[in-house]
Amino acid sequence: MDYFLELFFGGLTRGSIYALIALGYTMVYGIIELINFAHGEIYMIGAFTGLIVAGVLTHLGFPEGSMLVIALTCAVIWSAAYGFTIEKIAYKPLRGAQRLSPLISAIGMSIFLQNYVMLAQTSDFLPFPELLPRFAFLDRFSGVLGSSELVIIAMTALVCVGLSLFIKYTKIGKAMRATAQNRKMAMLVGINVDMVISATFVIGSSLAAVGGVLIASHIGQINYFIGFIAGIKAFTAAVLGGIGSIPGAMLGGLILGWTEAFATGYVSSDYEDVFAFCLLVLILIFRPSGLMGKEKTQKV
């Protein structure tokens, strides 16, 4: 039973990170039907910002407790700026184009950002300081659920609840839902669609940055390439849950995390990815729009 619980919490931690990143994919897709392949790189840039800020703060002699908050805030602001700019440079000029063009532009952006960070920073792995707080009372259970895991799970839950409330009750949240439903109609009723799209990118990027700082601090290392695999996994999670659906992205992330953890624990870590992607294929066969996605009839 202990073993099961350990795997359960391990999967939950990993799934939370997937969910945080997947929200960005799903929101952008929900609004403009674009898969933002540069999203994984935003996560990576968030982690790098966290590293640089934490380095500066340590140098200035800040207390440890405040470091996580400041590093997270800076990472969120910086990544949000990146997300905003990317949309303006790479996607907005192509908004009227065929669907393939912004997709290719996204892949180009992803490769550009990877190489840019590699050149600007380094291609080596870098150590990341432990920013997450440690709880002494949890030390007894650290084999099952450590402090950093608990913080990651709690933060993700908090962020998800906050996002749901934000979308449900704020004016911009309503505008986002309206735009997702029908962009042309939203424009006609006076919603500034450009602003809504920018807001979506900013929010999605902020969530990815939170994920980046949390996971980097949890595993203690980063390099310029971490966004690629995390991005692919999060994208899988978004599709699994039904791309375009916010609860779907959360559910998809958790399910993917658990699948990987239990596949590793009870079968073999050799087959971790095999099980994860088999699950994706199966779900897409039986529910083509994902677990919580709505099927849309497309007019030709």
Binding site: R14, L126, I215, G220, Q221, E260, E272
Partner: protein, 383 residues
């Protein structure tokens, strides 16, 4: 009309290819010539162009330096040493060409090849023509262990030597149950498989877990849980440092304080930098440090003087192999195949990688690996 043009183009292309071939050959002939009575030709084969040239060219430099050194001291048995280089780009099909060229030039001793695949392709040709071949870098174990190539020697330790040392060391630590983890890559998995085989053969030792992790995965907590659950008393990891540091820090955070051992992919300063305090106490095997050898220092100095740069990979091994080959000729006092083989097996020679002799299979005795441990933020050799 169109057909004729194509035909003409084809003929022209073939003719120019032929010409190019002839040109190349003429040039090579000028360089090597048939070995006259007063000349000893040392063949050097390996990747001298293409994307792996950086592995092959240091060998050519090493051969040139050693040849110059012997010539300055009056040559080998009164013969002047000459270098005949053949490029194989680490490709097996080009390696057979290179080998055939060596045969037709009547070269008796060959330094090379660089890559295991190319070496394997060339060896039957050398064996048939009774040519001695010594590689500074081909680490594939069966090249010597299969016993098929008595004409093959190497100055680098084979891949399995490291695994052997690892398992022996685990034994020394008193471990009876080990978990063997690898990164699914050619190098990591190969190393881990050897470790598993050796540990299985070892009486009283058991491999309780043998698994691969995906490099770059978000975290390895599940694998760490599995190690813990398996009851392993120690972990042997085959792969590189990014994965190793993630696994070891995950283990320590989960309160799993069992020994962690790894290979020379982890014996890297970056590992200590990234894993930080979790790196403390980690064991890693790595090539024995021979920078204190007088001949090694001399070779590096000579390289700087002659070529203006620091030597590249496998330079000390190549330098040592060239010395071993020429010394064998000196000791055998003949160029006959059997005499050369006999001389290589029976005489110790002083080289850049230490005092070496070749065992019955052709592996150099004395070169190899040591175990290191991270102590106070740096790797310390464990004697």
């Amino acid at each position: 009309m169109r057909g004729k043009l194509t035909l003409f183009a084809l003929v022209f292309a073939m003719a120019s290819l032929l010409l190019a071939g002839c040109g190349g050959e003429q040039k090579e002939e000028k360089k090597t010539e048939a070995p006259a009575a007063k000349k000893l030709v040392l063949g050097v084969a390996g990747a001298h162009s293409g994307d792996l040239a950086s592995y092959g060219l240091p060998t050519v430099n090493a051969a040139k330096l050693v040849a110059a050194k012997f010539n300055a001291a009056g040559g080998v048995n009164g013969m002047t040493v000459e270098i005949a280089a053949q490029d194989d780009q680490c490709k097996p099909e080009l390696a057979t060409n290179a080998a055939t060229k060596m045969v037709s030039d009547e070269v008796k001793i060959v330094l090379g090849h660089i890559c295991s695949g190319a070496t394997k392709a060339a060896l039957p040709i050398y064996l048939e023509s009774r040519i001695v071949c010594m590689s500074p870098s081909a680490t594939n174990p069966p090249l010597t262990q299969s016993g098929e190539y008595p004409n093959f020697f190497r100055t680098i330790a084979p891949d399995d030597a490291q695994a052997r040392l690892e398992v022996d060391f685990a034994r020394k630590l008193g471990l009876t149950k080990v978990a063997v983890i690898h990164d699914k890559g050619d190098y990591g998995k190969g190393f881990a498989s050897f470790c598993k085989d050796f540990a299985d053969q070892e009486p009283g030792m058991e491999v309780v877990l043998f698994e691969g992790v995906t490099p770059g995965a978000v975290d390895y907590s599940a694998v760490v849980q599995k190690i813990k659950n398996s009851g392993a008393e120690g972990v042997i990891f085959g792969g590189y440092h990014p994965e190793a540091s993630k696994i070891v820090s995950g283990m320590r955070k989960k309160g799993l304080e069992i020994p962690f051992m790894s290979d020379d992919g982890v014996k890297d300063e970056t590992f200590i930098k990234v894993a930080g305090k979790y790196a403390e106490g980690v064991y890693a095997t790595g090539p024995r440090d021979f920078s204190a050898n007088a001949l090694y220092k001399e070779a590096v100095e000579a390289h700087r003087k002659e070529f203006g740069t620091d030597p590249g990979p496998f330079f000390p091994e190549a330098y040592s192999a060239a010395i071993a080959l020429l010394k064998a000729v000196e000791n055998a006092k003949s160029m006959a195949y059997d005499d050369l083989i006999e001389a290589l097996h029976s005489n110790y020679v002083e080289t850049a990688v230490g005092k070496i002799k070749f065992d019955g299979r052709g592996d150099a005795e004395g070169v190899g690996f040591s175990v290191y441990q991270v102590q106070n933020g740096q790797y310390v050799e464990i004697k």
